[in-house]
């Protein structure tokens, strides 16, 4: 069952010639064939192209290339449909991009290619990464492999489903307000959102530019370290990427966590917190304490304002970023008698309802007469939220919380009530507002058999600490080994 392997296990077997990249790639393709009609993780797949990349990797291995030189040589990695891979479709799970095929390569794809990865498939998502359930896809919802009546989380739902269901070895997602961590939690995977500026966004279709980050979804913390090591680093094509040294994450995660200080925010005891989620996270924190961490209560006084702040800033930025989808230069077009009518009709027919809602809201908060009352005020509250975290990180090294207040909800349960959907992002969005890094790791199951995620937040560029704690926790628990039964 080569498709069930982790990156670490697979590269070991590839290096020892126990397995070829073609075999593991074919195993993933077979698995997709067997289960994806029930899960809908992939919205596009080119098996020939995948196998051709695998053959290239096998040739390189035969010629003596090592995984020290190319850490992902021969490893099948699937990509969220918001990241450009040269000559592959790029649609953001939207109708408005039509049959767009990317004429260029994102920096992360370039780095994965250089590391030898087999980049395959276009993974389902909430349209333009706007949503928390993957129900806002023009290609239908993805389904949670632990219970196919339930959402997998979002917006990187397909990325989490594909990893949880062993349809790929690891995947890339993007996270603007929790879109990597929350689906990872709901599907029982590891999801890492790197710090703002850690990974180049060149070739990531922009949603909210001051918040977006690309990151991996994997089966283990160690695999997340390997992936981050490959994709991190400064890029002259993304002026927001920071010229900060990339540590050897894989080497740094093995240390113990003695004396590491973990903070529990008092304000995170919210009304909607599910008792089973609360218990699982408390038990995980106790475990970390037993492993040598020091746990203390902290305060993040502006927590209650984070969702409002986020939905003003993110929609404002989205309204500007998505202005480019006008039917002129690429994608689908609906004709009109003049250019403006053509724009309006194209955008009316091409965007789904959540995207429209957010563009309209973002346009409103930036419009003449309302800019100061909404947008400028939100930027000021963002300063207060960031300061809360700076103060907290003066006392502790990491912050622990649930990733999501509840396990995965039912498909359709919240889709008619956007505000309720937004409120479920309470634990994940501050991380993006403050530019922190965050990770979700499996920490238990509900009585209904649904995965629960523990979120750890770290200082900007503190990914090593996050991965280390996640790795140490994983070594002493077996939540991450559980797999959904799909037959």
């Amino acid at each position: 069952m080569p498709h069930t392997l982790t990156i670490a296990q697979l590269t070991d077997q590839l290096a020892n010639k126990k397995l070829s990249s073609r075999e593991v790639t074919q195993a993933c393709l077979n698995r997709i064939n067997d289960v994806d009609d029930r899960l809908n993780a992939f919205i596009n797949l080119d098996p020939e192209q995948a196998l051709a990349q695998a053959d290239t990797a096998d040739t390189a291995i035969a010629q003596g290339r090592t995984h020290a030189e190319q850490p992902l040589l021969g490893v099948p990695i699937a990509i969220k449909d918001v990241i450009a891979v040269q000559d592959q479709p790029l649609g953001c799970a939207s109708k408005i991009l039509g049959n767009f095929n990317s004429p260029y390569e994102s920096t992360v794809a370039k780095k994965l290619r250089k590391a030898g990865a087999v980049m395959f498939g276009r993974l389902n998502m909430d349209e333009f990464a706007m949503g928390s359930s993957t129900e806002n896809s023009a290609f239908g919802p993805s389904r949670n492999p632990w219970d196919t009546e339930r959402i997998p989380g979002g917006s990187s739902g397909g990325s989490a489903v594909a990893v949880a269901a062993d349809e790929c070895i690891a995947s890339l997602g993007s996270d603007t307000g929790g879109s990597i961590r929350q689906p990872a939690a709901h599907c029982g995977c590891v999801g890492l959102k790197p710090s703002y500026g850690r990974v180049s966004r060149y070739g990531l279709v922009a949603f909210a530019s001051s918040l977006d980050q690309i990151g991996p979804i994997t089966k283990t913390a160690g695999d997340a370290a390997t992936m981050l090591g490959v994709i991190a680093g400064h890029d002259e094509r993304d002026s927001t990427s920071v010229p900060e040294k990339v540590p050897n994450y894989s080497a740094e995660i093995t240390d113990n966590i003695k004396g590491l200080k973990i903070g529990l925010p008092r304000e995170y005891q919210v009304d909607g917190l599910d008792p089973e989620v609360k218990a699982a996270v408390e038990s995980a924190v106790n475990k970390l304490e037993a492993l040598g961490a020091e746990v203390r209560e902290i305060s993040l006084p502006h927590t209650d304002y984070a969702i409002a702040t986020y939905y003003i800033i993110a929609t404002a930025e989205a309204s500007a970023n998505l202005a480019r989808f006008d039917g002129v230069r690429y994608g689908a077009r609906v004709d009109g008698s003049d250019p403006e009518q053509m724009n309006r009709k194209t955008r009316g027919a091409g965007f789904g309802e959540e995207v429209k809602r957010r563009i309209i809201l973002g346009t409103y908060v930036l419009s003449s007469g309302y800019y100061d009352a909404y947008y400028l005020r939100a930027l000021k509250v963002r300063t207060l939220i960031q300061k809360d975290f700076l103060d907290a990180f003066g006392q502790v090294d990491l912050i622990a919380s649930p990733t999501s207040p509840t396990p995965a909800f039912k498909i359709g349960e919240k889709s008619g009530d956007p505000l309720q959907m937004y409120l479920s992002d309470i634990y994940t969005i501050s991380c993006n507002l403050a530019g922190l890094c965050g990770i979700s790791v499996p920490c238990g199951f509900s009585s209904g058999g649904l995965p629960i995620g523990l979120q750890l937040l770290g200082r900007p560029f503190g990914e090593s600490d996050l991965l280390r704690v996640a790795n140490v926790y994983e070594q002493s628990t077996d939540w991450h080994l559980k797999r959904p039964e799909l037959g």
Binding site: L361, L376, R382
Partner: protein, 108 residues
């Protein structure tokens, strides 16, 4: 910041009443069906009402944060270098001719 954006209203009720979906939709260049308008309008009102909780905070003395990383302009020598070819740049165009994007007539 442009000076014509006047500071407006801390009174939440007035703001809400002034939310004019037709006007904003025109600014956003999105055509909505009557059905969509009917559904989206109350949802947006509810969301706007929710985000107005930020009015509880006194932020007069607080500096805005547009970006969490201190960014400075990144400059390089202005020298020609390879870029996307015209064919590649045009290849996803819904309508093009002679290397140009074709749009509906703008002036009669």
């Amino acid at each position: 910041m442009p000076s014509n954006r006047s500071s407006k209203a801390t009174s939440t009720k007035t703001d809400r009443m002034q939310f004019d979906l037709q006007h904003v939709v025109k600014l956003a260049r999105i055509e909505l069906s009557a059905e969509e308008e009917k559904r989206i309008s109350p949802q947006l009102s509810e969301i706007i009402q929710y985000v107005e909780k930020l009015n509880e905070l006194d932020v007069d003395e607080i500096e805005p944060t547009a970006h969490v990383v201190q960014l400075t302009n990144v400059l390089r020598e202005d020298q020609p270098r390879p870029s996307l070819s015209q064919d590649d740049a045009m290849r996803n165009a819904p309508k093009s001719a002679n290397g140009l994007f074709v749009v509906p007539k703008i002036v009669e």
